[in-house]
């Protein structure tokens, strides 16, 4: 086929384009030289430097606090929101309202929240990043749980009510277990988004409490160092494991 050559070559070029930078970073992270561009031999020294860097470790801890906290808020509020929207509202207004934060540019959200906090005279800190991240994560959890809800059979809840279970008990014993795969997927997504989020954190964090992306940003702005390569390789590895894990998990939940 003549056509397939025209699509095969760009296909391979695309993957070369996507993976060349990643390969370069990983290879250089093992280079036994502080000159990044000349290969001198294999070393793991930069990983040692990385794991004893207090700024990076503190940034990592901050990021994990923010991601865990914002995911928890988003899961609780997003699930309730989805169930409420599905059961009780006819119009799409609340639905649009709940999903809107995902559509707004992060830049607008960042400067907006910064403006509100400074107008109220609040000091920025880790908590302001956490609250801001939850604001857009709610939208993602709501969307995923809503999708899950639309697949559920309402007669199960009705049966539970008919058999004498109260609304709370029906919710915790019948609805929630069926929603679990959706909530887990939403939690994974909001956790990942929060870990990687830079723009909103850039505007809402205090200089004393940077998240990991902000630490990386200041390092990259300062210049290229072998330590960043090591950090990049570790983060790449974590992402690969997370994506493959999530892939397996969704396959498991689909099978359920």
């Amino acid at each position: 086929m003549r056509e397939s050559r025209f699509i095969r070559i760009p296909f391979w070029l695309t993957f070369a384009f996507l993976y060349l930078p990643i390969v370069v970073v990983v290879v250089i992270s093992f280079n036994d030289s502080s000159n990044l561009f000349v290969w001198k031999g294999f070393t793991l020294d930069w990983y040692g430097v990385l794991f004893s860097d207090q700024a990076i470790l503190q940034g990592l801890v901050n990021t994990l606090i923010v991601a865990t906290g914002s995911t928890a808020i988003a899961c609780v509020l997003g699930t309730l929101l989805a169930v409420g929207i599905q059961r009780h509202t006819r119009g799409g207004l609340i639905r649009a309202f709940a999903l809107a934060p995902a559509l707004l540019p992060d830049l607008l959200l960042g400067i907006g929240i910064l403006s509100v906090f400074s107008l109220l005279g609040f000091t920025l800190g880790l908590y302001s990043v956490l609250l801001s991240h939850a604001a857009f994560s709610i939208a993602f959890v709501t969307a995923i749980v809503l999708a899950r809800l639309s697949q559920l059979d309402p007669s199960l809840e009705e049966a539970s009510r008919d058999l004498g279970a109260g609304p709370v008990r029906t919710f915790t014993r019948v609805t929630l277990p069926q929603l679990a795969p959706g909530i887990v997927a939403g939690a994974l997504l909001s956790f990942t988004l929060s870990i990687d989020e830079f723009v909103i954190a850039f505007f809402t964090s205090a200089p004393t409490t940077p998240t990991l992306p902000i630490v990386i940003y200041s390092m990259v702005r300062f210049g290229v160092t072998p330590e960043i390569n090591a950090l990049a390789t570790v983060l790449l590895f974590v992402s690969v494991v997370a994506v493959l894990g999530a892939q397996r998990l969704t396959r498991v939940t689909e099978a359920l």
């Binding site: 086929m1 003549r2 056509e3 397939s4 025209f6 699509i7 070559i9 760009p10 296909f11 695309t14 384009f17 996507l18 993976y19 060349l20 930078p21 990643i22 370069v24 970073v25 561009f37 808020i73 509020l77 309730l80 929101l81 409420g84 059961r87 009780h88 509202t89 006819r90 799409g92 609340i94 709940a98 809107a100 934060p101 559509l103 707004l104 540019p105 830049l107 607008l108 400067i111 907006g112 910064l114 403006s115 509100v116 939850a134 604001a135 857009f136 939208a139 309402p154 609304p167 990687d196 830079f198 990386i216 990259v220 290229v224 960043i228 990049a232 983060l235 790449l236 992402s239 994506v243």
Partner: protein, 322 residues
């Protein structure tokens, strides 16, 4: 004629009317609406406080004057919007539009054949290819930007390769140019082009292309008259997905562009963090957001109309044939 009927069947189902109650018997009365408050209330309150109020405040700020030492003076003015037409700022807007448009076009040119190729793979390799497209997207975006700083560096691998091949004697300065910004943005958002294209192409009925081939169309003609027209909704979605974030990105112009290429995002960031002119930054952000949201609405309307138009046309044809 079975092909058009097949096309109708293979089209993705319309989204289920999830918001509507399952049966008329469960129609919400006053009591049910009251019962919704504990469910919807906390989330709605949260979004109001952390999204609606901030956006409203930015809107308000954009109509007031800046304070001498930052902050806002409560005197109404339209000057912040008038300043957008200052040639200095217009050129920044023009720059951003050109760069975002070039990035979108390149992403389409690279992404289309890639997405098409993925649909031709076996199911197993299709999953592998899709994960491989997404994987860079799930890695930290500062790290991905940093990788290009390494590559494009004067002493970097690309320059080393060019010199080794004798293409150039002196290193070519690639970093800190508008072209480098384009490459960085393209790298960042290419997956957002490939995925909607893939989804549009994968849902296409392959029998249509086969029918055209059987009737004597060359592969290129099949591509031009069948494959591409049917994938226009996917093309529109992909273009908006790339163009919108490319317009407001301020990190790549700063890190890969060395701050020499000033885009709208940089301008807004600087109004808030350097110039301390919040009202002007607010006006810029507002105009940017409204334009981008309009683009999103336009795209979804257009895609919907294209899909519905086609379904109706095919429906008529099927009826006529029957």
């Amino acid at each position: 004629m079975t092909a058009p009927a097949g096309a109708v069947r293979n089209r993705p189902a319309p989204p289920p009317p999830a918001t509507r109650p399952a049966a008329p018997a469960r129609r919400p009365g006053a009591r049910a609406r009251f019962a919704a408050v504990p469910l919807v209330g906390p989330g709605a309150l949260y979004i109001t406080l952390l999204v609606l109020v901030p956006v409203a405040l930015i809107t308000v700020y954009s109509f007031f004057e800046r304070g001498r030492f930052g902050g806002v003076v409560w005197t109404f003015t339209l000057e912040n919007f008038a300043r957008l037409f200052d040639p200095l700022y217009l050129s920044v807007v023009g720059n951003s539009l050109v760069i975002a448009a070039v990035v979108t076009l390149l992403a389409l040119l690279i992404g289309y054949p890639t997405a098409l190729m993925i649909t031709r793979l076996s199911p197993k390799w299709r999953t592998v290819a899709l994960i491989a497209v997404l994987l860079p997207f799930w890695t930290n975006f500062l790290i991905r930007t940093y990788a290009w700083i390494l590559l494009l560096n004067n002493a970097g691998w690309i320059n080393q390769a060019l010199q080794a091949l004798g293409i150039t004697d002196e290193p070519i300065s690639m970093l800190y140019t508008p072209q480098a910004v384009v490459v960085g943005l393209l790298y960042m958002y290419l997956p957002l082009m490939i995925l909607p294209l893939y989804s549009a192409l994968a849902h296409q009925d392959r029998q249509l292309g086969e029918a055209a081939t059987d009737l004597g169309a060359s592969p290129f003609r099949v591509f031009r008259t069948v494959t591409v027209p049917l994938s226009i909704p996917g093309i529109l979605t992909g273009c908006v997905f790339v163009f919108v974030p490319a317009m407001s990105n301020f990190v790549i112009p700063e890190l890969i562009g060395g701050g020499k290429t000033v885009l709208v995002g940089n301008l807004i960031r600087d109004q808030f963090l350097k110039a301390r002119d919040w009202p002007f930054g607010a006006a810029l952000a507002l105009v940017l957001t409204v334009s981008l949201l309009l683009l999103l609405v336009l795209q979804s309307r257009l895609s919907k109309r294209l899909t519905e138009g086609k379904t109706q046309a095919e429906g008529k044809k099927v009826r006529r044939d029957a």
